[in-house]
């Protein structure tokens, strides 16, 4: 069992856990991910590594409760644990001093963009970060991002905090204001956000790295379920990625593939909610939010 040492509730649906996994923390680098299983009957799901502490032997992961497995994970408390954590998987981010770079994080994607921004900053880059979320409540790690960025722009879709805009708006403005200055861009967030970031940066011809989160089973190259169509053929996100050149990804195919099991996911959530209903009723009766 991989024990949870710390838990933070970042929003109603966003949780942070710090987990004991020394053999992975030893090796983890920015850009990599792990596969976790919550319990005996659980599924293998990929989670990006938000942070790691080699000395303490811990990994930090942030996840949003979007399906049954992540909802169950959300119920785990300090002292509980994961049945399996395996990794670090995928290629680490290639870090060097590129000059000026932009790191874009959307929603829960701010978490994995953080160690990349930090490593880029440590390598001597001028880091401009843009972080955004649907609404203020879903925004996370603003202070941590600020600490590793030369400039930080915050947006929310509904204007409840920071600038009322999609992340692509300030991104476009920077690229227009500083032609030829930005050497590289990283974007991590919902697939639709990454698609539009890539579309925004393409006319400026600035290399744009995205970190894809696809359906996976083993995470080691065995199942091929994570394949993504690039302009020159299919690649496996788990072993060839998770980072890819955003300008070469077939985004429509990717969006279609990640929704393949949507009906099963919904059915699982409904069934799970049903079975937890009595507990929820009790909690509501006791006045717990």
């Amino acid at each position: 069992m991989y024990k949870i040492l710390e838990k933070q509730v970042l929003s109603d649906v966003t949780k942070l856990v710090v987990v004991e996994a020394p053999q992975i923390a030893r090796k983890a680098k920015a850009g990599q991910f792990v596969i976790v299983i919550t319990h005996e009957r659980g599924e293998r799901i990929p989670l990006t590594i938000a942070d790691y502490d080699r000395e303490a032997g811990t990994l930090t992961m942030i996840f949003q409760e979007v399906g049954k497995s992540t909802m169950e994970m959300g119920l785990l408390e300090v002292g509980d644990g994961f049945k399996t954590i395996v990794g670090p998987l995928g290629h680490p981010t290639e870090i060097e001093n590129f000059g000026s770079v932009i790191c874009v994080g959307g929603g829960v994607g701010i978490a994995p963009v953080y160690p990349i921004a930090r490593a880029l900053k440590e390598a001597g880059n001028k880091v401009i970060s843009i972080i955004g979320a649907r609404t203020k409540e879903l925004l996370l790690w603003e202070d941590k991002m600020r600490a590793v960025s030369d400039e930080l722009i915050v947006t929310t879709d509904d204007g409840s905090y920071g600038r009322k805009a999609l992340v692509t708006v300030p991104l476009q403005e920077i690229l227009e204001a500083k032609p030829g200055e930005i050497a590289k861009i990283w974007a991590i967030g919902p697939t639709i956000m990454m698609k539009f970031v890539a579309a925004t940066t393409k006319p400026f011809n600035v290399p744009t790295i995205v970190s894809l989160n696809t359906i996976m089973v083993d995470g080691t190259g065995m199942c091929g379920g994570c394949r993504v169509l690039m302009d020159d053929g299919a690649q496996f996100v788990c072993v060839d990625g998770p980072e890819f050149d955003g300008h070469r990804v077939d985004w429509n195919n990717l969006m279609s593939r990640i929704s393949f099991y949507r009906s099963e996911e919904q059915a699982a959530v409904e069934r799970w909610r049903e079975s937890h209903k009595c507990n929820l009723d009790r909690m509501v009766a006791e006045g717990v939010k």
Binding site: C223, S256, Y261
Partner: protein, 482 residues
Amino acid sequence: MAELTKKERMKIPRQEMPVQEPEDRVENFSEVALGYTLEMARREAERCLQCKDPHCMEGCPVEVTIPEFIEAVRVGDMAKAVAAMKAKNNLPAICGRVCPQEVQCEQRCILGKKGEPVAIGRLERFVGDFELANNTFAVTKGPSTGKKVAVVGSGPAGITCAVDLGRMGHDVTIFESLHTPGGVLVYGIPEFRLPKAVIRAEIETAAKALGIQILPDYVIGRTLTLDELLAQFDAVFLGTGAGLPMFMRIPGINLNGVMSANEFLTRVNLMKGYEFPEYDTPVKVGRKVAVIGAGNVAMDSARCALRLHSLRARTNGVERGEVHIVYRRSPAEVPARLEEVHHAKEEGVIFDFLTNPIEIIGDGKGGVLAMRCIRMELGEPDQSGRRSPIPIKGSEFDMEVDQVIFALGTSPNPLVFVNADGLERSKYGTAVANQESGRTTLERVWAGGDVVTGAATVISAMGAGKRAAADMDRYLKGESTW
């Protein structure tokens, strides 16, 4: 039982294996072949002529002393049968179920020249199952050598190698990338052919007796690398198999509903997708499924799809679909075990021979509408010795399917070769290793099984694990140098 004459023995018919009837078994994932009773086993054992110069053993990659164990079964001395078996084969309950005996031991049985060979595989399974139920044979660890060995991968090659090394007195640690040990036995071979409980029992019993430590969730090449293993262990065996799926380079392979047999089988077997939503991993089965290829993995995929159809028909009331095996060669070239093909046909799998997909056509919503195929004819024998299939011009046609499963073989996973300077690989990505000793081009590293040969059989991997263990033992005891 009175001794029979040779003539009388030869009159005994080969004992049929009791099986679940096809119409019953497509409704469940329980084992198809039910195993001999003691009476059946003893009667089958009576058929063995106890040849003075037995050829059956030559066909066994792990050199089981076949006449010896069969004679013990015949006289009902099961403890002796188990001891004879376990002297050579650590996993008889598994081998008895998945070995292609018809091209190994049984092919060489003298009885097969005129009639049917002794059912060596079924007897082997009987002995293996008897041992799992009765524990008559204690595998013991040899006098400790103080040497530490890392075995990478817990499939047939790794487990066999680890158990032999343990019996020789070495301290063995197995690193497994998945969350459950067993490798392809667990993720690839379905429950109805090889129950998970059998694998678990065989592995757990041996590991416990020999003090073998099994560490799941370790991806060598990521969590630890080969150079780090070499710093911590005296010797390393790589039995990482061939886990990378192959897809055809045709349009449409990234549509939803197109998948590797590895993905389909892993969802079904390892993750128990057929019990979704009791288990969390979903698995889809199309109304009309095409499995491309005709090896054992293709048969396993097709038969899993049939069972999923039955289960879904029962729970959701949907109409049962069709499952096709689409193969570019003819029935004569089918690489799967005879028994698997037979079972698949009995269960209702439809075989489309001399047919090859050239494109998968989308439904406009991301899914599969049809598969464009071309008819093939057989030409001259190719490198594999089999007649090569040649497309027939103008014979294209569309096959209406909504799921396509590629079972075209697999190649070794390159992850293990990270930080393994000096470890040579072939152009196919397999590790270069001496066939007899298993030695690779990197000192103190041995390899065997599919990682060396490319996708092959469970028993050939076990044979390689065994030979490597013997050589590792000589090296570790200072009886041979690198």
